[in-house]
């Protein structure tokens, strides 16, 4: 694999992922076509977005395939591989530029929304992309918060914490809760704000109990079993692993098969590292 390819994809790999690790954001699909397929309802902007997104997706698939292929090819000519990749990367960038231009062309109108949502939901390949995503999010919040098209962002909301700052997420959620015309967005935003507050509250207090009840109610109101389970898990976690609590013991064996316990280290400060080599 060429060093150029490595320098491109390494930042994307981020932290090593385990099967159920929330630290790696789930891949999200930007809206393919946000217009209902009735004869009159497709606007010029929607038609353009659909076409440009298809071009982008096609370019991205080809680029990703080349990265995949090249990572497995040990004995290929490095310069040749770089050249091949550069062509595909160039096409991807050209498609991105057109989508960016779309947001500008329709700025201030409903037509800009799918372009802005694409920018927010597409996985950034570097700091410039990330900054552009933040800017697009801010524009949506400022100018398009009532748009019914934002319904397409529902799958993204739960992954926002790993892609945007806590402040950005909190601000956006509050705006959705107050202004959104989409009921599902309002209720999910309300739930996410309460869940965050619950995480900041000290377990075992009356305030915590009250907030836990509210958060559970908000979770149920989303109609998603997943969110109810999420709160239950958050409460369980707080009941066992809050700061200052005595941790569970570990009774196990080491890599040579010899038995030992975490409590063997009582009297010492312990740096306990859960790790794996995969």
């Amino acid at each position: 694999m060429t060093s150029k390819l490595l320098s491109l994809i390494l930042p994307c790999l981020g932290v090593a992922a385990a099967p159920a690790a929330p630290m790696v954001p789930a891949a999200q699909t930007p809206p393919a076509d946000t217009a209902a397929a009735t004869p009159q309802s497709k606007t010029e902007a929607e038609v353009l977005y659909a076409r440009l997104f298809a071009e982008y997706r096609d370019a991205k698939i080809k680029m990703d395939a080349e990265v995949e292929r090249s990572s497995k090819a040990d004995d290929e000519d490095s310069a040749e591989a770089d050249a091949r990749f550069n062509v595909l990367f160039g096409k991807r960038n050209a498609a991105v530029a057109k989508l960016v231009e779309g947001a500008v062309t329709y700025a201030g109108t409903e037509g800009a929304v799918p372009f802005l949502m694409w920018r927010v939901m597409d996985r950034p390949l570097g700091p410039a992309d990330a900054a552009a995503a933040s800017a697009a999010l801010a524009t949506i919040q400022k100018t398009h918060i009532k748009s019914p098209k934002l319904k397409d962002m529902l799958p993204l909301l739960v992954t926002m914490n790993s892609r945007f700052s806590a402040a950005e997420v909190a601000s956006f959620m509050a705006a959705l809760q107050e202004h959104s015309s989409v009921p599902e967005l309002k209720s999910l935003a309300k739930y996410m704000l309460l869940l965050k507050a619950l995480g900041d509250e000290a377990y075992g207090t009356g305030a915590y109990e009250k907030l836990a009840k509210e958060t559970l109610a908000a979770a149920k109101a989303t109609g998603e079993e997943r969110t109810v389970k999420e709160v239950e898990r958050a409460i369980e976690f707080a009941s066992k692993f809050s700061m200052g609590m005595v941790s569970p013991d570990i009774v196990g064996v080491d890599l040579s098969g010899e038995a030992f316990k975490l409590s063997d280290y009582e009297g010492k400060v312990v740096f306990l590292d859960f790790w794996g080599d995969w």
Binding site: L255, F260, V270, D273, F274
Partner: protein, 96 residues
């Protein structure tokens, strides 16, 4: 990460401190990792696939670091090795 932890073990070898791992790989892979990276701390086997310890501790991302004081109270839990180290050292300094 390995280099930092290896040197931390050496640095604090005369202090009331222990670095303990909970390894989530299969045994063969874990042993290989220890050997190749010259890891100088003891590890619990968490039998990749079964992961009972990780499940009990509600670990949902790797690596996760937990810092415990001399009475096994939790003072840190997260992914920031530097922060965990600073907290561990502060706890040691506070012991007499």
């Amino acid at each position: 990460m390995y280099a930092h932890e290896r040197s931390l073990v050496k640095e604090l070898s005369d202090k009331p401190f222990a670095l303990v791992g909970v390894n989530n790989d299969n045994l063969e892979r874990a042993r290989k990792a220890v050997k190749e990276n010259k890891l100088n701390w003891r590890n619990f086997q968490d039998e990749g696939g079964k992961s009972k310890i990780s499940a009990e501790w509600m670990i949902s991302g790797w690596p996760t670091i937990v810092v415990l004081d001399a009475e096994r109270r939790i003072h840190y839990r997260g992914h920031n090795g530097e922060r965990a180290t600073a907290i561990a050292k502060k706890l040691i300094a506070g012991m007499k």
